[in-house]
Each structure stands twice: as C-alpha cells, then as structure tokens.
Homo-oligomer: 293 residues x 2
Amino acid sequence: MAVLDRVKTLLSELIDEQAASPRDVVAIGVGVPGPVEQASGLLTVPPIMPAWDRFPIRGAFAGEYAAPVFVDNDVNVMATGEHWGGVAKGVDDVIFVKIGTGIGSGLIVGGRLHRGAQGCAGDFGHICVDPEGPLCSCGNTGCLEEMAAAPAIVMQAERCAREGESPPLLALLQEKGELTMKDVGEAARRGDSCALTIVRRSGRLIGQTLASVVNVLNPSMIVIGGGVSRVGNALLAEVRSAIYQRSLPLATRNLPIVMSELDDVAGVVGASVMAASEVLSYAEEREAARTGA
Amino acid sequence: MAVLDRVKTLLSELIDEQAASPRDVVAIGVGVPGPVEQASGLLTVPPIMPAWDRFPIRGAFAGEYAAPVFVDNDVNVMATGEHWGGVAKGVDDVIFVKIGTGIGSGLIVGGRLHRGAQGCAGDFGHICVDPEGPLCSCGNTGCLEEMAAAPAIVMQAERCAREGESPPLLALLQEKGELTMKDVGEAARRGDSCALTIVRRSGRLIGQTLASVVNVLNPSMIVIGGGVSRVGNALLAEVRSAIYQRSLPLATRNLPIVMSELDDVAGVVGASVMAASEVLSYAEEREAARTGA
C-alpha cells in the first residue's frame, strides 16, 4: 500500500536522523482511521477505507523491524496522547472527539482507555441522525459522519457556491476547481454567512449526537480535535450548546468541553505512549516471571 | 414520604422474621429510579419523580439504624446483581437495560460498575429519537422514554382500543376504566395485532437507541430486564433486529442480547452486593491502616 510505504520511508528517515539503526527500534505504535480488532491488530470493515479490511499492518513492518507493532484506532491513540500529556492529563473520564474526514471518539473510562469487547468502542460517527438522510459508506442511512464530517461540509459549501450564495467561495471554486475543508473554515472565520451556516449545522448535529454519548457515559471532560475542529468557535459554540441542551442536567453541571491541546501531535504522542507502555508492561511481566514474584 | 415509610415497615418486618434487631443491620443498600449524585447519595433532577429532587434518602434511615446507607440508581443496582449472580456473571463489559415506567441502563465496564463523573452514566432514556416527538418530563422533546416506556405503550393501546382497532382491549378498557402494561403484554402474546404493533414499535425505538449505545461502548453482552421486557419475544426480536441493523458489524459480531435471569430480584441481589462490598472495602481499608500495611 502506498500509504504504508510512505510511513516506512518516514520512519527510516527518522532513524537516520537519530543516527540509529532499525535494531534500536523497541516498539512501533500505529493509529489507523477505522475499527481495529485488538487481538489481531487488523482493521475490520473500516467504513472510510474499505480496501484496508483485514489488511495485515503489523506484517508490513516485519521485514525490516524485529520490534513489536501495536495497532489501534487513530482516535484511541489521540485520546491516549491527550490523556497522557494534554488538556485531559489526570482526568479520569474523558471523551476525545475527532472531527475530520471521519467522526469518532476515544474513551478514557476510570483513567484507562476503554476499547470495548472488539476494540471499536467510541465509534459514534455511525449513529443515525436522520433516518431519511443520505446513504453512508457503512450501509446505513443518515449517519452523523456522512452528514457532518469534512466531506459533507465541503460538498455543501460547493453547492452553496454554485447556487451563488457565497461569491467568495464561488471565486475560490472557479479558481481551483474544488474546495477544501480549510477553504470553508477560513470563509467561516471571515464571517461568510454561507460557510457559517454549514459549519454551525455540522456542529449542531455533532453536539446532538454527543449529547447521547454524554448521557451514556457521564464524562468529566470532552476534548475536541481533528481537522474540522480547527474551524474554531462557530463550530465549538454549536457543539457546546447542543450538548448542554440535550443532555441530562446532572451530566453537564461540571462538564468542560474544550479544544485539544496537543492538536496534530496528539496522535504521535499517543502512539508513542501506547507502544512504550505495552512494551514496558511486557518487560515487567517477564521480570516478575523470572524472579518468581 | 409514603414510599420510604413502606420500605421501613418492610425492613423492620424482615428484621423481626430473622429474630434480629436494628443493631444487627450492617449496611443498607437502596436503589431509586433516577440519577443519584454519588458523593451525597441524593437524587438529582429525577425526571419521573420530580418531587424527590435532592430528598435525603440516607437521612430517612438514620433515626432507627446506625448502619451506613448506600444509595444508587436502580438500574446500576440491577446491573450489579445480574453481574454478580445472573446471566452476566463473569462478563466484563455489560449493558443492563431496564424497560419499565422509565428506560435506563447500568453499565459494567472492564468488570466494574461505571457510574460516570456525577453517577448518572447509562441514562440513555432521554436520548432524542424524534425531534418532532412529544414533550418529555425532562424538558426536551421526543425522548426514548417518553415514546417507548410503559406509559407510552399503555396510552397508545388505550387509543387503539377506543378507535375500535382491538375489540379485546376495548372490552378490557370498558370493564376496568384503564389498561395496564400487563394487559397490553398479554394481548400481544395472544397475537392481538394492535398490541403487537405497539410493542414492536417500542422495541424498534429502544433497539435503534441501543444501537448507538453499542457503537459507543462495544459491550460483550446486553441484558434486558424490567416490567416491559416481560412482554417477551415480540419486543426482544425488534430490539435485537434494530441493534444488529444499526450498529457497526464489528460491534455485533459476537453480541448476545438476552433476558435478565434474576428478573425481579436483580435489584434486591444488587443492593445487597453493593452494600456488602462497600462495607467490606471500608473494613479492609481500616484493617490496612491499623496494621500499617
């Protein structure tokens, strides 16, 4: 796969930079945007990357590295990073929400990452927000992700632009042939009413769905990260308002809803923490077995 | 409160039966149908029993018993019971769903009861299933509980009966002046199409909402209990079918959805387990402090 080849090139450059060799690598941590079966480390029916279904990611590193490879869902990895060294440090019950090409969350429950029985806990992007909504790649209709993630926002912005509702977005669209999430985000920050309406609608749908997650988990903190979250206050305000409106009063009485502090390094920090802690706990077990403790 | 007076009478009769005295009571466990703030043991803005908001339940026993009183949400207590000695014994990640006058769940996460930051985790009855739905006692519209719990089922059955769609239910209604959940359940089991349609609709709404909870938690087992669950297969089949349809494939691959084994004693078993384990862990801490361990 082209993506993994790129990952391996970057890893190898990183090792060279440190004047190290592949033998010095003690553990490899990988985050991927889809549900990962814990026992096997395999992606399983990943809605936004169907060709990766059961692709052996661990095996891709086996030729060059003797180190063990730990694979987890990217949002679990980001949640781990934010809980270890970001805004959620020391907080016991955290929902880390990623809003980007997909929508998902990583759950810290009682101070530990909660993966669930098959490792797909936190995957709230395929909760139905509109039974009459569009068909999602997962096979159901009206999933939150299909209606509120980056592709949906961009598609709506392009439609708005074509319908003449936003001259600045239309100019950009004609210049580049397509819009990106960044374009829509910048337009929203400049106060473009078309972009603002789309971003707020997305925030409202995400907030309404998160309200359900809050009722289920009663967390101490919600952290929002991922590309779409960089749109900023217009999105965050809608997410907050929908959560406060639709959750039980008791659950939101002391509930901070904040932006990720580690932002685009949350995943890197989390993958390192995951790999290091897995290797250390294995070393501890081996030491305990050796000393007969 | 009349309810607590009745509870105290029953408790005192139980003590007499055992030829014991109030001094022999080591701990008291109480389950109540509403969100309980853990630190204080107080019900907080309970939607189906508003008059109990912040009522001091612990205090009600203080005059007669020196024993500590542990108060928790009734579904948490039932989940504890089912996990200790019922169908969920030894299962690490369990959602215990109660469908009765209200709808809620108790969550076992990683082998332990998950109460959440304020003690109201699992309260999925106020998730919105229809934004255009009826006003709920919690202040929002279209909550699952308002549309699918026992009062909603009975109200729809009475309407059906009055509109002449079910002669047997109409006869019952005319005879007694009102219908009960039990009447509707019996009619459904006898194959009354009006009762079946209502029960199935309720099961579908509950299943669709539970599908969201399954996506969030990825449990190993779902256990269904409470009065409405006794309607039986027509309800359970719809709940199952909606969960399997709307959850991620990975999350439902090995997901048993079963009826409570302890049924109406789940709460009694759970309250005893809760009270006993709280007292024992306190005793252990005191012993550890005494011996300097």
